[in-house]
């Protein structure tokens, strides 16, 4: 029964691109790494650093079409609330020049523009940078469909570890559910620091670790037992969702990630847990 309903949903959703939900597909590894013999993790597997990008790319290629639905199904729609809170924490003002990295389909950028519009802030622009041109095309189409002015949006294909922008270009940098899939988190943070103007803000939304061990146990059960099964039912794939939940476990916890942000030079680094720490928002300033 539920399978039937899911299939119907899927069909409808395939017909048009909704404003939300493609974010997981945005989780492109935004970089080209040189071939090296160093190992990195791909989920729980160990792979060569140069392979990760390719592997991650394949994962998202496989499941791109059902990501809208899977995001909603896996998080019970809560990911929309997380993103709303994220923009609320960013709290943009007039003349905010935002760079949204790994923001392919514009989930964060559209929310940002809505916020600016609702608050009557003028001169707010968003630049969306993603390594995957297909995702950017998707985002452009959605922007036209949703009626966003092309003046306030620009779409650039680029690598998060080597951003195609000059130093001190932006006043805000956001990365939502993207940094986890990068091979070198420290390089991404260094680049974020470089492109921000002094006083600019770095804000990152990412899956994290729960503080309560009982809740972590429940969350683990859900992640490993339910999510891959959901993947089979909705997207017809097991492996990509196995990667998703494993990569979340591999990502540094709140305190470690905070230390990494500080190491990149950011100041006043804080983090806030949402939903008991399923995701956390890390914030820092370039001062």
């Amino acid at each position: 029964m539920s399978l039937k309903i899911n299939r119907t949903f899927l069909k409808t959703l395939r017909g048009f691109n909704t404003a939300f939900g493609r974010n997981v597909a945005n989780e492109q590894p935004a970089f080209k790494t040189e071939e090296s013999t160093d190992e990195t993790h791909f989920g729980f597997q160990k792979v060569k650093e140069g392979e990760k990008e390719h592997k991650v790319h394949k994962v998202f290629e496989d499941v791109a079409k059902s990501y809208d639905l899977m995001n909603d199904a896996m998080s019970f729609g809560i990911h929309r609330i997380w993103k709303d809170i994220f923009i609320h924490r960013l709290s943009p003002t007039e003349n905010t020049n935002l760079l949204d990295v790994a923001g392919g389909t514009g989930d964060i950028a559209f929310r940002f523009l809505n916020y600016a519009q609702n608050s009557n802030y003028k001169n707010c622009t968003a630049t969306i940078c993603d390594i995957n041109s297909a995702m950017l095309e998707e985002g452009k189409k959605r922007a036209i469909k949703l009626g966003y002015s092309p003046n306030s949006l620009s779409w650039i294909e680029g690598n998060a570890e080597k951003l195609p922008f000059n130093d001190e270009t932006f006043t805000a940098y956001t990365i939502a559910f993207g940094i986890r899939n990068c091979t070198h988190i420290d390089k991404v943070l260094d680049e974020a620091y470089r492109v921000l103007k002094p006083g600019g803000r770095f804000l990152c939304l990412e899956f994290s670790h729960l503080e309560n061990s009982v809740a972590q146990w429940i969350y683990d059960q859900y992640s490993f037992q339910v999510i891959p099964v959901l993947g089979i039912f909705i997207a017809g794939q097991w492996q990509p969702y196995q990667y998703l939940v494993e990569s979340i476990r591999q990502f540094p916890n709140q305190e470690t990630f905070k230390a990494m942000i500080e190491a990149a030079g950011f100041r006043i680094v804080t983090y806030e847990n949402l939903t008991l720490g399923v995701v956390s928002i890390h914030s820092g300033f370039k001062l």
């Binding site: 709290s91 007039e94 020049n97 006043t171 006083g199 804080t270």
Partner: protein, 266 residues
């Protein structure tokens, strides 16, 4: 010998032993104290660095309060004025609350300066405590005057649950400073009573001030004067009643003793 013994008493055996154990370490530290000091200074600079920038932004934001209120807008304008993008306002997650708190702290600091000057002045030509308090409160309220049109908003912000601890603490520190410099050295219940009374007068006058339309806020200063003289009267009354009640208590006790004597119970 005696000194040794005293040492022994002062540092209980365990501490004594501990101290001996750590003595080499202490010595080692002394040799490198120069380095250590440098490290400390650097660390201090590092800590102050963020705070200095924040204070710079807050200070600049105050100039926008009359126009934009105690708000995110004032903070981002302030940030822009000192050369940061408007979005750096978000380093103050409490928004207007942080701005009000900064203003209160800054005013308290300035008041402290004034109190010290006033105390020096009064050492050569004594000022009665009640006048001292009046001068201090007036000086403090005058700092609020430039922002009086937006002060109701500040009062509202200060009474939000998340801001209450901060605003209470700054208020109590302020009245404590005033009472201390006015020469209150009581160690009994009066210590609390005086401070609470002064805080009450301050808050009442503040409320009067925000709806005062008289030139130069004459009515407010009159109001302040009246409340303080009432306070003085009340204080006198309490002191007197304390005396009379003691006499009453004593006479009752005496009567009771006499009665017992007459009955022959003693």
């Amino acid at each position: 010998m005696l000194l040794n013994r005293m040492c022994f008493i002062l540092f209980k055996p365990s501490q004594h032993r501990l101290k001996r154990q750590f003595l080499p370490c202490l010595r080692a530290r002394k040799f490198s104290s120069e380095n250590l000091n440098n490290v400390n200074i650097n660390k201090e600079n590092e800590e102050n660095y963020e705070e200095n920038i924040q204070n710079k932004i807050l200070e600049a934001s105050l100039t926008y309060v009359q126009e934009l209120g105690w708000s995110k807008a004032a903070l981002s304008s302030g940030a822009e004025q000192v050369g940061y993008p408007g979005i750096s306002h978000s380093m103050f997650p409490n928004g207007g609350g942080d701005l009000v708190h900064y203003f209160q702290k800054r005013s308290s600091k300035r008041l402290l300066q004034y109190l010290k000057e006033l105390q020096q002045e009064s050492s050569s030509r004594p000022i009665p405590p009640i006048n001292f308090v009046e001068k201090a409160l007036k000086a403090r309220l005058e700092m609020t005057v430039p922002y009086v049109s937006k002060w109701p908003q500040a009062i509202a912000i200060m009474s939000l649950p998340q801001n209450v601890p901060n605003s209470l603490a700054t208020l109590l520190t302020m009245v404590d400073d005033i009472c201390y410099y006015a020469g209150d050295s009581s160690v009994d219940f009066n210590w609390y009573a005086r401070r609470i009374a002064v805080a009450g007068v301050y808050k009442a006058t503040e409320l009067y001030l925000i709806q005062d339309t008289s030139t130069d806020f004459k009515n407010s200063w009159q109001f302040l004067n009246k409340r303080l003289s009432e306070l003085e009267q009340l204080h006198m009354l309490l002191v007197k009643s304390d005396e009379s009640s003691r006499i009453t208590k004593d006479s009752i006790a005496a009567a009771f003793t006499t009665a017992r004597n007459m009955i022959g119970l003693n």
